[in-house]
Symmetry: D2
Subunit: 408 residues, 4 copies
């Protein structure tokens, strides 16, 4: 069987599968599961095209790392076939631990365990199944391999993961503000002193890249209505779990029920394989199907929240630079208590505050470095001809106040 397939991709045209091992990993149920996990959670409520999946994103990042390696080799850097395959696998599997609706439910279904950690657990399991053939990939993924520039391609401030998701999210949302010159950036990549650097003349493309990220934050990732949809889903899961732990019956697939009926921590995951096995079968379908059924649940809070999500009656969201006034929040909560006949504690299902932030670029934490014509290396914010990049390196934090529209 010929496993060197090509896959159509509306973003890049065609993606080629490099080796039999990579093909077999893509065919594995762990990876196929990503077909059913939307890359951007509930973003499609605002941008209807944004129904692309983690599956497609992982293939896209794999494609880009291939281009990057080709560039680095053409500039005289040695990367063996084994290293290439390992880096390819590392980026292919970097998101394998994501749960349903990606980031939206990351700390709701399970507790105290990040998707990166679950990725590591799943990679280890795959490594056993594949007789240790993923060992080098895992070393690179965990930055324990000597050529750390390979790690930086997988996970850094200018990695191919980010490059693909900006391209892809911009493409599927139709938000042209996110378009970056990824092909030019990749052609400008180089390695100096063992680290990934960018040729000096690539500075404007980097600037564009960082600004595109910033604009995507405000226009897509942190868009009010996106927040409203995702927070509503989180609140639904919170409520459902609370009811389940109390022993109430809830429609759910067996795998989803497993996580509704108990708290599962990082330690649990590491001690009993059943949790990982169950988790590796969960996807958007399990969750959203339940939400649809729960619209008829007897618990008023749960059914109201589910109704609101299914009928797109989302929270009203206010985004402010300062924390919302305590009086405003209290007033809204009192209205909720009165309207729904609920306790003060439960009022937080209808009225709550939170904060959001936007880190486009952190100086000091895996900087983006330029390789100057005189072969010296400079961090980008030192070089740019105005204060743009420095401005971008400041984290912007905002406050949000969410409440049901009927409390207005």
């Amino acid at each position: 069987m010929n496993k060197k397939k090509i896959i159509n991709d509306p973003v890049y045209g065609f993606i080629t599968i490099q080796s039999d091992l990579v093909f077999d990993l893509i065919e594995h149920p762990y990876f196929q599961r990503l077909r059913n996990i939307k890359q951007l959670g509930m973003t499609h409520l605002v941008y209807p095209g944004a129904i692309h999946t983690r599956f497609h994103h992982a293939l896209g990042a794999m494609h880009l790392i291939g281009l990057a390696i080709e560039t680095l080799r053409s500039k005289g850097h040695t990367i063996t076939t084994e290293e290439e395959e390992a880096a390819t696998i590392a980026i292919l599997l970097h998101d394998i631990g994501h749960g349903p609706f990606s980031h939206a439910l990351e700390h709701t279904i399970v507790e105290g365990i990040s998707h990166e950690h679950i990725s590591t657990l799943l990679m280890d399991k795959l490594n056993k199944e594949f007789d240790g053939k993923l060992s080098l990939a895992i070393e690179i993924f965990n930055n324990r391999y000597a050529k750390s520039f390979l790690y930086q391609l997988v996970s850094g401030q200018l990695d191919l993961d980010r490059m693909d998701y900006l391209n892809r999210d911009s493409f599927f949302t139709g938000v042209s503000e996110g378009i970056i010159g990824f092909d030019r950036i990749i052609k400008m990549l180089d390695v100096a002193e063992g680290q990934i650097v960018i040729e000096e003349k690539g500075i404007y493309s980097i600037e564009k890249f960082l600004i595109a990220r910033r604009l995507m934050y405000w226009q897509v990732y942190l868009h009010k209505t996106v927040i409203a949809g995702e927070q509503l889903l989180v609140k639904i899961l919170d409520r459902a779990k609370q009811l389940a732990l109390r022993g109430e019956e809830l429609f759910a697939t067996p795998n989803f029920a497993h996580f509704l009926n108990r708290k599962v921590s990082k330690e649990d995951f590491e001690q009993d394989g059943i949790h990982l096995q169950r988790f590796a079968a969960l996807d958007d379908y399990d969750i959203y199907t339940s939400v649809k059924v729960w619209t008829s649940h007897t618990d008023l809070i749960l059914s109201t929240l589910c109704h609101n999500l299914v009928n797109r009656n989302l929270y009203h969201v206010e985004v402010t630079n300062r924390q919302p006034a305590r009086e405003q929040v209290e007033l809204l909560k009192l209205r909720a208590i009165a309207k729904y006949g609920i306790t003060e504690k439960d009022a937080s299902y209808f009225v709550f505050t939170n904060s959001i932030k936007n880190n486009v670029y952190h100086v000091g934490d895996g900087n983006i470095n330029l390789l100057m014509k005189d072969k010296s290396i400079k961090e980008i914010t030192e070089e740019s001809d105005n204060s743009n990049l420095l401005a971008l390196s400041k984290t912007v934090r905002k406050h949000i106040l969410c409440y049901s529209k009927d409390l207005k």
Copy 2:
């Protein structure tokens, strides 16, 4: 509240909502349901980008009809604001009766009732809710309105529905063969003798349009692996329904169970509103979530088929010009009987034949007509300078033989 929203669309840039009524229809749960119905069923198993929905397609067709009306007005044809809104609504709702996975399951979940008929039932129901404001739209949709060119824009051999789905399917699959010059075709539209016609100089764009359709048939809609995935889903539903009718217990949402546990015919739909109500809440989530759970069902046939779908172990499909040899089919069935220990009848879950066809253009059935420079009207196949278009008007029919890969 401002309802003249604009919606980002990766295909056309922006789609504007024309009126309050249109906005309210889009917000209606019947229409929102289309967010969860993939336009191309299981095609994403071959083209991972093809996860676009009926929701987005309907908005796209609405956008294009707006452009067409603008063109016709600029050529001096009177179309009132009411007619424009009605035509817009007619095309917006033309697919509202589609069930889960669009065409794939059309005659499996319900029996003897087409999606067009369900669309009509739902439109009538909406018309009541909206106090008769959809009456003109329904007249146009059913071709009972005097200006029949409006009907042709909604449903004809050159309607905006087809134009959008070719654009959109081509865009999301990444199959550039399907690209058409839709904007040029629209600018060439005219009305003559009360019918939609194309200016003579648009002939090449029409030719491109028909050929693009043909290529999309063979490369996407009738792609072997797409057929394999859709047939597998159909067989799963067949088996599940058989088991359910026998009284076996099956995991399903209440709405889905409603259709699993009984046969629902066209007459049933018309006599008891409950069927329509249940149907209007069904989407891809109900079905696929059950398929995932059924992988652990005790019925070997059901669980095997579901396993095969979830793990993408699809049928092997042979496409031939002649019917497959009876001996070959029998041999495969005997293997299935031996392998799975099943009856001859049940062997057809693992081995079966069928036929597929590709009607790109039917002469005689709502022809595509050219408006010549001398103001005469000519049917396109009379005009083209070689036999291309005539060739395209022949239906191509092929035979398929599908069987589980483990029977090879």
Copy 3:
């Protein structure tokens, strides 16, 4: 004859000609001349695709103003058909006074007269030919019409001229850094207090627009090699004119010879129609053909410079934040004197300094204003959530040192 033609445009798809008058203006020799004037002078020496013309740009700007007017009308602002046609004509003709190679030769062929002024003279002439039908367009162009927002669409910090040239220059150079969300910006335009404003939620698109402009400056308009090519052309014209004024014979078309053999000032243009008539027949062909012939001229300086341009042996350019050291310049000039056996004065054909600047956005000079949700108006740099926009409003000025490569 049907004059409502549509024109194919690779950037926007199709451009429609709105009226007979507009059609007749496009057909006029003054406007057709723009077919032979490259939008970006010598930029094609770096970006080979950048051979697009003023003709195409003017049509593109015309297309965009149509979209903008459609948006403003849909928001309830009255714009009559006459005003629309006038604004369309104003933007169509805004560049009609450009000479060969656009900005590159602006102050070389004629002296002390800007292309805007020549545009005005040509518009006045056309107005006579067309019996005063351009009067309103001219009022708008000169900002003497009451509805000054129409003027701002033609010429302001967010006019459709800039929007088209960013789109077009980015498209034809292939520099994706210049891509802007022009359709979104246009849909966000509004009029408040008689001025063009942008809806508050359009702030990110504006930011993208200004940054795209900045990046296009550094990556295209002020690219070293572009400067090198344009400066070389300027020096060639300087030398040729000097020789011609001295009475030496030079190959040239009669129209070009007219300007080589005499100094023509703003006053001359206004006093004698012959200058305008000659100018209105000049384009890139006249100039570059002469340059090719002059490669064999007996004047060593002229033929050397022409050889250098035709064979793409351009100046070496150094761009610095501070003025180049006087010693370095002197040393280079001495080398030129020695090498070519020329006077100190003539050495400046081979060694010279200059400065370049990049004004992306000027606060205080036709600001870009946001229309906030509370209906107040805010200048954009007050509103943005970081110092980006303020940074962009600072002019960046740099120094350049150019010299023949053989002096290195």
Copy 4:
């Protein structure tokens, strides 16, 4: 100096220069000349974007041959670095012999010598300058090298030359009918029995490719107004040459005058190097500048024709399947004689007939072959499932009648 430059290309993103030799050839004046020769002659009179040049096309074809070689190598075919460079050079230089306005003037400026033959002469000259380093490229170009599939990549029914010009002409004209899936075709290329073949599953992409070509013929290359413009230019050159041979004085650059004042045949080119040297300096500038000046020539026929071209007052063109009626032609000629006071012979400057044809695919002449799954080879028209491709292989020939609009 680093010669491995990358060049921005709006069609493909970036084009990389592979070797120092290739870089030096691109920098050579012979190749730089192509910057000033429009790929599509006078087509820009209809499609204003079509001002792209032979220079850019040659670079594009070079880019595509690189992709094709990469694909063939990945399928196990050996292509040495020397062979790659030679094939790259062969395609880079395949059009180097084109004269001003490409095909439009091919048999007007010189007589009895094709652009391919001049290409060969120029390559031989370059080979001497570059010490024989082009020998292998020349062998491939002339199909004298053993691996004839390399020749087929440069010049065949599916060569990279055609693929680039369809992509590029479609892109710059904005005619989406010409879009082909070039990347898919290239990925489907293979070599069998020493010849270029296409994998069976690429059949639809080939069909699309041939149809795109056909549509481009009718919509662009043989568009009425394009013909009108190019025929006018040919007639101008005819007249000018006739006058020059008679001894009349005509404005022209020295290089152009060389060809106006004498007939230069294939034999002349081969016997005296001066002709090739002069030719290698001619481009669109020489011709069109003269046309502009000749609008004031004393010869009424020449000045009238030139006026007509510069002011876009082109011939009226009738395209018919049968030869135009002799009476119609005679009548028009008599009108011309009466109107302009000219001889019957000279009337043919204003009224003439000709024929055009469109060969999309020739069976029997370097067929396009499919590599079937069973490893057999089939010619494409045998395989396609309807008569489309066979229809395409018939040459369509049409007759044209051109005459000055004032004779209508």
